[in-house]
Subunit: 157 residues, 4 copies
């Protein structure tokens, strides 16, 4: 029942990302193209934009797990927020680069979980790496909430 609540019938594959489904030994990954809007005067991705790329990949990862964030907000009144981010910026990706962003949940707690994410160039070099703490909150007052069991199970899987 709660499963149904979170289920999302959308097919996510409008973007040719390699998804864990196709190879469970691989982390979820999502490809992001670098556009003009992303690049700063140094010719490389403005560093704060990696947080956007990381979030796009997390959104697609959740979608791939069948978690519909809008329904979660509307029906259960909860959602995930980023409570802490630790990011290392290494090589600057350039205009037109196609980055591969990975999502790996590494630690589940009752009301939050930690993810590790990377952005890599096509040749495998790492542009940025992050540890992200995603906390479950009640939208009404933004107070911490336990992650529903059905969600925890999917995320940790």
């Amino acid at each position: 029942m709660c499963q149904d609540l979170h289920a999302d019938q959308h097919s996510a594959g409008y973007n040719g990302s390699v998804q864990r489904a196709s190879d469970p030994s691989q982390p979820f990954s999502w490809q992001v193209r670098v556009y003009y809007e992303d690049v700063d005067v140094g010719g490389v991705v403005y560093y704060a934009n990696y947080l956007r790329y990381f979030e796009r990949a997390r959104s697609e990862w959740l979608r791939g797990l069948g978690v519909n964030q809008e329904r979660l907000a509307a029906v259960e009144g909860i959602g995930f927020v980023v409570a802490r981010a630790e990011i290392d910026f290494r090589i600057g990706a350039r205009l037109d680069d196609l980055l591969t962003i990975t999502v790996v949940p590494v630690e589940m707690k009752r009301a939050y979980f930690w993810l590790e994410q990377e952005a890599r160039l096509a040749d495998g070099r790492q542009c940025a790496a992050a540890r992200i703490k995603a906390a479950c909150v009640r939208h009404r007052d933004m107070r911490p909430q336990p992650i529903p069991d059905s969600l925890s199970a999917r995320i940790a899987a």
Copy 2:
């Protein structure tokens, strides 16, 4: 009464903008500094960001007129949206430039109004110029709404 509703006791002058109050013959203006986040690989402000600068100036202009947009949304359930923008991009502003953004209402209609805005360098050269159509809408369903008289009077003044 409705006046009170829109009145905002905040002193807006945290930024040294020249405001119409000080010289009624001059249009409202607001200064915006160009930061790293704003500049693209060509070393100039990413063109879409002028829409952000223009909106910051409109927000400050409304604040200067005593119009509190949050209260307007909360109490009357209405707000302004940009319905159309026509923008010419001329000279690219560069990192650290201090731009002067002007706001001039040019045509009042029942449910919308047109503004003209410019972004100029310190030496007076024009970076961008826009005509913006701001429409009053009901937030609930985003349907057009007449602009309240007390607001029209302030905007057109």
Copy 3:
């Protein structure tokens, strides 16, 4: 020779966009997912972000035509800039919406061309429509330049 200069061997199809190649009677289109970063407090795409979506589609359209903008800049010292944009904002796209962005060149001049672009929801409703004037400039001084013939031919095709 100049053809080779602009040719781009990258396969663009990392995103399942419908491209003109597959049906020459259809305009080029590109799909863009709406993420958290894109949406404003009203729950809809922040209007200035449509300019970003439109540019992503133009970048992919050029890539699909075999035009490599980085090589163009590096080898010929020229590029395209947006000189004017006229945009109507209609229905606000929401979080998770998958927008289809079209690109239709409508008028070729010696040193610039006009495009028409739309952003549509899956059900066909139009969120935004724009007329964009893209001008060819010399990067060194940002002065207008004639569009190279090989480029004009591809764009107008």
Copy 4:
């Protein structure tokens, strides 16, 4: 001589920030207004935007120290990049809030330094806090460079 190279005659005070000059016992601070462009669907500042606010404050802090980043890039070919950021997101700032952003250098090394930054609401509550590692690099190849002595002295002062 090198001092002169970095000196910036611009008066920074277009924004009513409290600067260390006026009270050396206080950290440098800079005020940032929250605009529509900054706020997400939850009605609070999109978390990645705190990185932008922090950078604006760092830019103004450097300007206040007489460090001209453009001149530094043009004349010495060096600049600062963010190599690592650790950020805690606490309370979400809302539309129209006026945030105070502080900048406190906490550790100087040969080729990088650490800063601590906070974003606080007018009532003193903390929205976000960060530790930022700023590294000096040679623009040509983005390799680490020793921070020039004249710069170190100012930053650490």
